[in-house]
């Protein structure tokens, strides 16, 4: 028993940054609900969750190349491209809708796979390779949807952007007022989507040899090679999974807004925010340390900060300035470790 406790303690110590991010999110979110006139209600939670899904997925997408020690500047663009594809395909009969969603996810995944091939076999730095492929993704998105618009199934839009009650009610799986269903009926569907897709894909992936190879590459690529790990496959897999997560974000964005919009500014903002979320979630930009769940938390922190502007009467013009200051302060907390370092050479390791 005591050894289990010791394991837990050492696991928290090793994931100090993640634990800190969770605490920060809880504090920010509780305070937000206290200040909000209708705080702690399902409606507020649903609205918040809805607005968080896309950035959460994009941040998780960004995490995986960052763990390798690289950056993926195409995640926002791949999300936008996927949203535009979804705005064309996700409608019609139920079968057509499902096929449309699958096609959207496959398209984003394939794009990520190409990123990986270019990085590995083109021997390019990820940051510059994805800068180029990101522009290509935007070009394709504009080609598919020159003007904002589209036609996404209305039922689907309603069902996945509200509570579980509405989801069941829309599709009539069973009586949504059933007594056994009541305790979970309030849960927002977007929150479930984040948990199921995010945790459901990431946690198992992390425990595969490929997943661990990604960590090993970011930590010490030479040692990874000497240990006979599949380096090229892991790099390709990292970008492929990034493409998949970005496509998840794009698909949800299209369903949520019932349209697609090849907005270059928005794509860029998503990419940059994804990097901020990754850092907030405790992943090292040098690679090897962190994880996508941390980025999930980091993205939620970014979102909660922006929610405050709705309830506090701050001039909207000040929003970017305040957001920047808060982000700087939050990231600085992660730099506290520097004060404990006694050998200055360790600062550069």
């Amino acid at each position: 028993m005591s050894s289990k406790l010791a394991n837990l303690a050492s696991s928290i110590r090793q994931n100090r940054a993640f634990a800190g991010a969770v605490l920060m999110l809880l504090a920010l979110f509780v305070l937000y609900n206290i200040l909000h006139p209708r705080g702690f209600s399902s409606a507020v939670l649903i609205q918040n969750a809805n607005e968080s899904v896309a950035i959460v997925f994009v941040a998780m997408a960004q995490t995986i190349p960052v763990l390798l020690g690289g950056l993926d500047l195409s995640v926002g663009a791949v999300m936008t491209l996927s949203a535009c594809i979804a705005s064309v395909l996700v409608n019609g009969s139920p079968l057509q809708i499902i096929m449309g969603m699958v096609a959207t996810l496959l398209a984003g995944t394939a794009f990520g796979f190409c990123n990986g091939l270019i990085v590995v076999y083109g021997r390019l730095q990820p940051i510059i390779a994805t800068l180029a492929t990101g522009a290509i993704a935007m070009g394709l998105a504009l080609f598919i949807r020159p003007k904002p618009g589209g036609d996404v199934d209305g039922d689907l839009n309603w069902a996945v952007t509200n509570s579980l009650w509405d989801f069941v009610d829309t599709y009539g799986f069973f009586d949504p007022d059933a007594a056994w269903f009541a305790p979970v009926a309030w849960i927002p569907v977007p929150l479930l989507i984040i948990l199921v897709f995010g945790a459901g894909v990431w946690l198992p992936f992390r425990r595969t040899v490929i997943g661990r190879t990604i960590y090993a590459i970011g930590s010490a690529e030479g040692a990874a090679y000497m240990s006979g790990l599949p380096i090229n496959r892991a790099k390709i897999a990292a970008f492929t999974l990034a493409g998949f997560f970005a496509a998840c974000g794009g698909l949800y964005l299209a369903i949520q807004t019932a349209s697609g919009n090849a907005d270059i500014t928005q794509a860029g903002a998503y990419t940059l925010n994804s990097i901020a979320a990754v850092v907030l979630g405790g992943t090292s930009l040098l690679g090897g340390v962190g994880g996508a769940l941390g980025s999930l938390i980091g993205a939620l922190i970014l979102r909660v900060i922006s929610f405050y502007f709705r309830i506090l009467s701050i001039d909207p013009l000040l929003q970017p300035l305040v957001e920047g200051l808060v982000l700087l302060a939050a990231v600085s907390l992660g730099a506290v470790r520097v004060f404990r370092i006694k050998n200055r050479l360790d600062l550069f390791r």
Binding site: S11, V209, Y225, S227, I341
Partner: protein, 508 residues
């Protein structure tokens, strides 16, 4: 027993950018044997190992295992054939746990995913086998000491069920108890008919463990013989190909040197525990002892790299521990440090030779805020001439130079600041004999110019050959100071182990 040796190399050669690393080497390794490979740095030992373990491909020649020719594409292929190497540069991933590292390439799996419980059990089992129960399988490798990391490395190698185990200086960082454990382990493996290749510079280890010895020199396999066939002196002669003499410049007659660098009761964290010593102008003081007894930290502290150093440091009339390398190198202290690892701390490898030479002394070649191209090129050509650095163009990347010439660039860089105190942290590690001798002569010349030199070396012969006085460190403090004729290998070894001379078998 099969008629073929386990491993056979025939006519293997390897060239790097035109220079020969291995030249038509024939080499064989038998099952159930512990086989030592001896040779100087640059003799081709590490190239040989890299070829056997699949890191490098030979340019010519063939390798066969059990009489079957093989051709590996990667270390993973060699592992699959049962060839496992414990590398000198550790192959551990610092941000993963001990258990992750031990089964890094071939983890136990359930439903396609890594079975962490099984992985932990494997780690516990292997760590117990090498008596390292104190290592927590869930700890990050980053948080372990160097000696524990090396033991984890050994556990990792064992987990691959080797048929040929290669140990490349694998005991260099270990504690004495660990070394005994590894000896026992190798004996067990020999019983199981596993072949071991053992690379070490410690002759007493080789004597104790190995049954067969092979000597390499200048990329050639000189001779292989059974233990006891040759005396130590004969082996050394085989290794260097001539008598050991005239390596070192003559020492001057002993004189009194006014103390210039005075260190008193220097302490830092748990690595320095009240180290005290003095170095006079015109004097070369050796710093000895086993690796990792605080020699590196002492030099870093004097150079202002460490935070929270306690104790007194005086350089000439100036007292106080410098707060920063930038302060340490300036007047009035004028300290220079040639660091341990030239590739990360000494050089900026992708930058040009000229930039590296000038990195510490831009102030001397600048006019106002601008670097003067004329002064710059003059200073660079002076430095190149002074140390006879063999270069093509000063604008070439410093990474293109050989190890010896890279080290000369590091030393030249610091000489350009005209230092009064020169700290040398193992400056001859991994460089060829010719360059070594040049460095010894240079050190003597610098001392004769009145500079104070503190010289740390892991090679006892260097300390004996170069220094008037040798201070031996043990566990963060100076435990002995040897002067003049008292500087002998026996005395250094005994002091390094913090025991009295005569109690321990001495080699060479």
């Amino acid at each position: 027993m099969s008629e073929h040796p386990f491993l056979q190399l025939t006519g293997v050669s390897k060239y790097f950018a035109g220079t020969r690393a291995l030249e038509s080497v024939d080499f064989a390794c038998e099952r159930g044997s512990i086989h030592a490979v001896l040779g100087e740095n640059g003799a081709g030992k590490s190239t040989l190992i890299k070829i056997i373990s699949g890191v490098l491909k030979p340019d010519t020649g063939s390798i066969s295992i059990d009489g079957m020719p093989v051709d590996y594409a990667s270390p993973a292929d060699a592992n699959a054939a049962g060839i496992v190497c414990i590398f000198q540069e550790l192959s551990l991933v610092p941000d993963l746990t001990v258990a992750d590292n031990i089964s890094l390439a071939q983890p136990p799996r359930r439903f396609g995913m890594i079975d962490r419980r099984a992985q932990r059990e494997i780690a516990e089992h292997l760590l117990a086998r090498i008596k390292c129960e104190d290592v927590d399988p869930n700890a990050l490798v980053r948080d372990l000491s160097l000696s524990r990391r090396q033991m984890v490395e050994i556990a990792k190698a064992l987990g691959k069920r080797p048929r040929l185990l290669i140990l490349d200086e694998a005991t260099s960082a270990l504690t004495r108890n660990d070394v005994e454990t590894v000896y026992g382990l190798l004996a067990d493996l020999r019983q199981d008919n596993v072949a071991s290749l053992f690379i070490s510079h410690r002759m007493n280890e080789v004597e104790r463990l190995c049954d067969t010895l092979s000597v390499f020199r200048n990329g050639r396999h000189v001779e292989t013989f059974a233990k006891g066939e040759k005396t130590d002196g004969q082996i050394v002669r085989l290794m260097i190909g001539r008598e050991v003499d005239a390596q070192f410049p003559p020492k001057p007659a002993p004189t009194e040197h006014p103390a210039h660098l005075r260190v008193n009761a220097l302490s830092w964290e748990k690595r320095l525990k009240g180290a005290s010593l003095t170095v006079g102008r015109g004097e070369i003081v050796g710093l000895g002892g086993l690796d990792g007894q605080g020699q590196k930290e002492l030099m870093l502290a004097l150079f202002g790299v460490l935070r929270g150093v306690e104790g007194r440091v005086e350089v000439g009339e100036t007292s106080g521990v410098p707060g920063d390398p930038a302060i340490a190198k300036q007047a009035p202290r004028r300290i220079a440090l040639v660091p341990e690892d030239r590739k990360t701390e000494g050089l900026m490898l992708p930058m040009s030779i000229a930039d590296n030479l000038l990195a510490a002394s831009y102030a001397y070649v600048s006019v106002g805020p601008f670097i003067s191209p004329a002064l710059e090129s003059q200073a660079v050509s002076e430095a190149v001439a002074r140390l006879q650095i063999k270069i093509g163009d000063p604008q070439d990347a410093v990474a293109t130079l050989s190890g010896g010439n890279q080290q000369k660039v590091v030393i030249a860089k610091w000489l350009m600041t005209d230092p009064d105190v020169i700290l040398l942290n193992d400056p001859t590690r991994g460089i060829d004999v010719g360059t070594k001798q040049e460095i010894y002569r240079l050190m003597r010349r610098l001392a004769d110019e009145g500079r104070a030199i503190l010289f740390y070396s892991t090679d006892y012969a260097e300390l004996i050959g170069c220094c008037e006085r040798v201070a031996i460190m043990y566990d963060g403090a100076i435990v002995a100071e040897l002067t003049g004729d008292a500087v002998t290998e026996e005395a250094i070894v005994a002091a390094s182990l913090n025991i009295h001379a005569g109690a321990f078998g001495v080699t060479q």
